[in-house]
Symmetry: none
DNA sequence: TATGAATGAGCCTTCATTCAT
DNA sequence: TATGAATGAAGGCTCATTCAT
């Protein structure tokens, strides 16, 4: 019966939402499964019907939330008026800036993702398409590369370097204003990103 | 008598070494104080004579270990034959490369430091001079800037960006060969670093 | 099904009984929760399903046990043949004597209650009706006052003075025969009580 | 050497004072020997040169402090102008009132003494003469009885009843204003005491 | 599928006491 | 006599996980 199916789906969603709420409030390691089920209004045993353990629910949350960050950014980019005039660099900076702004306004999310992120989980998040969404960032990135008049050397490494640079830098600047405020950091950061991209450019496509 | 004093020093060192051993083996959060004292061969209560709690011993370890990384790198740099011909960029790359190589050969240390590092702790580590050492990296960095014929804009931000880029990138490349091997990564990474430095250069000193 | 509910009730009762046993044997502060659960045959965690901590279980025991003392005494009083001829003083002395005798025969209970009693807890015990009992001593006391042909000044203070006098005096006499045996003390004590009541008597009701 | 002797005495006094300070501040059972020696400025081992354990120092404090209460009260009584016109009852009430007032102004002392008092310790306190004082309350009480024109039946029991009544009643009234304020309680209490004394009066001395 | 009572290993921390110095 | 580092048993308490219902 679809009703039962829907009910199951609801329980799982409820657990995910509640867990995110508490992870971002009191931190992952201080959150107990009791906390989660109690606030979600289900029984303790029920948790284990949907998730293997605390790590399982955390990883699924990271995937979901960081995927969402990218999707939102890309959607905004597409609304942009003069998109056709954007270079590859422009688009990258646009997306990054959008994500940074999202994180700046949701610092709990930033803490949660950064503290629990690894490139492995992250790559999964970028690659795994959501249930009902045709979008995943890997495809979009590939498309953006194709649209550029340039060839790029080792584009995955380039993306990797950019991601590591951005995520480390933002964490510190947004949460602690160290070594400077986000606004002060941005020009330096975006400049650095443009330089990295520049250095990965190969010859033009014919 | 200095004997007792020396004995105390030994206990503390023993605890620090043992803790490092276990932190890097089974991870910080899975390490209990029982584990530490048991392997160190002291009683549980003794731990609390030297450290406030697990976090205290961890922070002191990070300070100590990351300080050591820099000191080793700088010492190696100074032995370099043609040091006088090195530009600022050359020196930075040299130090970074040396540190990366150290971490590559001591992956447990890399895991430990990276997972527990924040810019705040790191800055402390760079600034705090060791007991018997006149060296701390902040001073050395300042000296290197002075020796350069160029002025640099916002040198602290520049260092910050480089540190974040390097630490994120190494973690993934060394431990998981993601997105590529360390050897593959290095040229890209060092190139990126040179670009970042380049973009922070201001006019020449008179 | 009521089976589970009954089982829970049993566990709680078992814990209460065991705790009482041990509190009266080795004293409250020397009793650990380990002791209790171990003798009750349940796991440590189970204790915390029923009680907040050691103080919680102690207070509930005091309430229960001292309430029981009064109920027993009152029930005995009611069985008395010539109850109708009893004055207010006679009833009070009867009840007190009955309680003292109960305590004399259960010195562990006396120790436990006295050492842990405060007027606050005691008042709670007297006021709180048990689950399945319509009796609480406050109501009975009020009834006794109403039945008397006399008005009493500050009846609560009067009761308070009597309670403090009796509990202090009994503790010492019963447990240590200090400053004299219980039998020697009783006439003096009851005399004192009658005097206290006397001095609280106001004019007769019309 | 007297100097060394004096030094020893100082250490002991310092420990006693410090212990009293902390017992009355954070409670006996929550005070550790570490607390005491730390605040007293001596080493841990030193404590055991002067006291057997925590209970030892507590008992000696109770003796000392409650003896002092009585001595102060008796000294005040002696300063009284019309002392010769005081009856036995008047003197008793005077002393009791004085002690109650002392306790009312030093509630920490009240808590400490009451929570840790037993008739046994108390009797010791009343009987044991201080080092350099000829006064102990037992002698004074005997003297007061002799000075009265009346014989008293079982004077020790009488004193006992009064002490128990007063100590229980004060504890609750002073610290918790239960069942009424100290001021409200006093007339009732003193009345009750007079009644108790009255009921112990035998015939007059010839 | 859902429950939640029960578990018990394991955590961190305290502290009275000892003993070599 | 005085020290204080070291001990290690014991304490209170948490929590992921299980399982009978």
């Amino acid at each position: 019966m679809g009703k039962l199916e829907a009910n199951k789906q609801m329980k799982e969603t409820s657990l995910l939402n509640t867990a995110f709420e508490i992870f971002t409030t009191k931190g992952f390691s201080k959150t107990s499964i009791s906390d989660i089920v109690c606030h979600a209004g289900v029984a303790k045993g029920t948790f284990y019907l949907y998730f293997k353990d605390k790590y399982d629910i955390r990883n699924r949350l990271i995937c979901h939330k960081s995927g969402q960050l990218f999707r939102t950014a890309v959607q905004e980019l597409r609304k942009e008026n003069k998109l056709s005039e954007f270079t590859f660099e422009d688009k990258m900076i646009y997306i990054i800036d959008n994500i940074i702004n999202q994180l700046n306004e949701n610092q709990a999310l930033l803490t949660f993702i950064s503290k629990n992120l690894s490139w492995g989980v992250f790559k999964t998040a970028l690659t795994t398409p959501l249930r009902d969404s045709e979008l995943n960032f890997s495809d979009i990135y590939r498309k953006m590369l194709e649209d550029s008049p340039y060839h790029f050397k080792e584009p995955e490494v380039m993306l990797f370097l950019i991601v590591e640079l951005v995520s480390g830098a933002c964490y510190s600047a947004i949460l602690y204003q160290e070594p400077c405020s986000l606004e002060q950091l941005k020009p330096n950061l975006y400049n650095a990103i443009r330089m990295i991209i520049q250095s990965h450019k190969a010859n033009m496509k014919i």
